[in-house]
Symmetry: C2
Subunit: 320 residues, 2 copies
């Protein structure tokens, strides 16, 4: 055990749970386990792994958890730290935070959405460094956004659910979408499962010249243009498995998305950042698939700092 | 002259310019002048009126300006305090802030969008009091949104331009919209001029049973649902002339919008605020048409406070 504070991080995703010990990307150990359909069975090996890390590296000062959702983020609500309305079998009302509180009593635990954690990771060490206003998007099994606004993660009433934006349909496209709540919202049209349903081919095997790519890119561009109108971000970080899936290549997918965003905005917002090819405005995550787990460590550090200097702005009356 | 600080406020709109002296809604004097097509000619009587108020009531400690836009809000840009890409004749590049700086030298001047000013007014004295996360919408000549996020007005790269959200079209509606940039964005479909173009009747004369009302309400509901997904506000304040126009009545328009928002969200975000009839979630402005000018006084007060205790978070490196 030494004087450098050690943190534990957990990134709970719909497919796998990643966990880590360390202080950031430089000194992080990580492991991953399948999520499965039983939260307790899925979290037990995570807890065992973290305890082994503590035995090897020293006690954690705090934990940070980024979880798939929707999750309860209001500390005054009984749903705080729980998954709420997920369609994922077995995980509805799963008490993620409570499970780790019982396993690691007495230390602060930061809790947020998986995408907010990833935004936090990119803010601290990646493509959102020193930017107070940006959006981190992940397109994979679902589509989600973590929003940094005025230097703070945006929560509001619950947390943004940008995957469920309703967007205009492209002429001639009759695919009904797969979102059980909304059908053809952005996630219903462009998530990995939506691409599989549309084409019969998993996104990662989709040929580079398949017509689903320009469709997916154009719908994504319209959704991003809507986020520009709603949030005025200084940058959009576009991560997840879909942009790098298949035989198209992420560079070409991002180029199609950037073209579509420029077209959708129609030159209305005339600033240098939104002119040209947008190659500095819509970018991939710098931490790649480690954004979320690094962000979980950053959430742990924030929880630790707040435990030492209690000024949690989320309990500030002006933010309620 | 007395010890209570006196402020001047200016709300520059596309049709009229409202100005006020005072500290808030309780002691405010106000006047209004047509915007016309020549900024200098339009602002001169505003400046004269404000100077008369100073002679009567004492010197202003600061001014606050809320302006129609898009406007430059980056203090480090040459476009700061100017209108940028407006389609409004004569006002492109108009130097609003500079005009008042020259007329009232030596006092701080707060500058923001008209809708951010209105959000500020409702935050300070109205329907957004003690809410750190809400959206103020105005639907009139244009559609705009002022966003409070984490207790601060959201600026980001420029400022939100929520009127230009692209939304799905309703089946059977072939109206192309009137936005010169986007055609059928929300503003292109639902602003006052859009309703006139669609129906041939000014919104204020539109019969209560005209089919344009449910269409306008449903498009507005989809746009608000998108803002819920992007921003997760704790409340939406829906102001402007369109909701209270015509022979329908604002209560019935708001009821149609609330129904549409509930339908568009499809029960996905399961919190009490978004259940039921949404009558506490989507509400009219409490300050009504005074939201913007009251907000301009609040912007003046903020500028004055920041002049005394310089901690402008917008100059904070973490917010850039």
């Amino acid at each position: 055990m030494n004087d450098i504070p050690l943190f534990g991080g957990i990134e709970a995703g719909g497919t796998k749970i990643v966990c880590a010990s360390g202080t950031g990307p430089e000194d992080m150990n990580r492991a991953q386990f399948p999520s499965g359909s039983a939260p307790d069975a899925a979290l037990a090996p995570v807890i065992r792994w973290l305890r082994c890390e503590e035995e090897r590296r020293g006690r954690f000062r705090a934990l940070g958890i980024g979880s798939f959702g929707p999750v309860g983020l209001d500390p005054h609500s009984p749903s705080y730290g729980r998954i709420t309305t997920t369609p994922k079998e077995g995980w509805r009302n799963a008490d993620i935070l409570g499970t780790f509180r019982r396993a690691f009593p007495g230390i602060p635990i930061g809790f947020d959405t998986d995408v907010n954690a990833a935004a936090m990771g990119e803010h601290r060490w990646g493509a959102g460094r020193s930017l107070g206003d940006f959006v981190y998007i992940t397109m994979g099994t679902g589509i989600g956004a973590g929003v940094m606004a005025g230097g703070k993660l945006l929560h509001g009433l619950v947390h943004p659910e940008a995957g469920h934006l309703r967007i205009p349909r492209l002429p001639g496209d009759a695919f009904p979408g797969i979102c059980p709540f909304h059908g053809d919202c952005w996630e219903g049209l462009c998530s990995g499962p939506a691409i599989l349903k549309r084409t019969g081919i998993p996104a990662e095997d989709l040929p580079g010249n398949h017509e689903a790519w320009p469709l997916t890119a154009r719908y994504t561009a319209i959704a991003l243009a809507d986020l520009v109108c709603a949030l005025s971000p200084r940058r959009i970080i576009l991560g997840g498995s879909v942009p790098r899936a298949g035989l198209l290549g992420r560079d070409r997918f991002l180029a199609m998305v950037r073209n579509g965003v420029r077209e959708a905005l129609g030159g209305y917002i005339s600033v240098p950042e939104l002119s040209g090819d947008l190659s500095g405005y819509i970018i991939p995550p710098l931490l790649e698939e480690n954004a979320g787990i690094c962000g979980a460590l950053a959430l742990a550090e924030t929880a630790w700092e707040e435990g030492r200097h209690p000024t949690d702005s989320r309990n500030d009356v002006s933010s309620r």
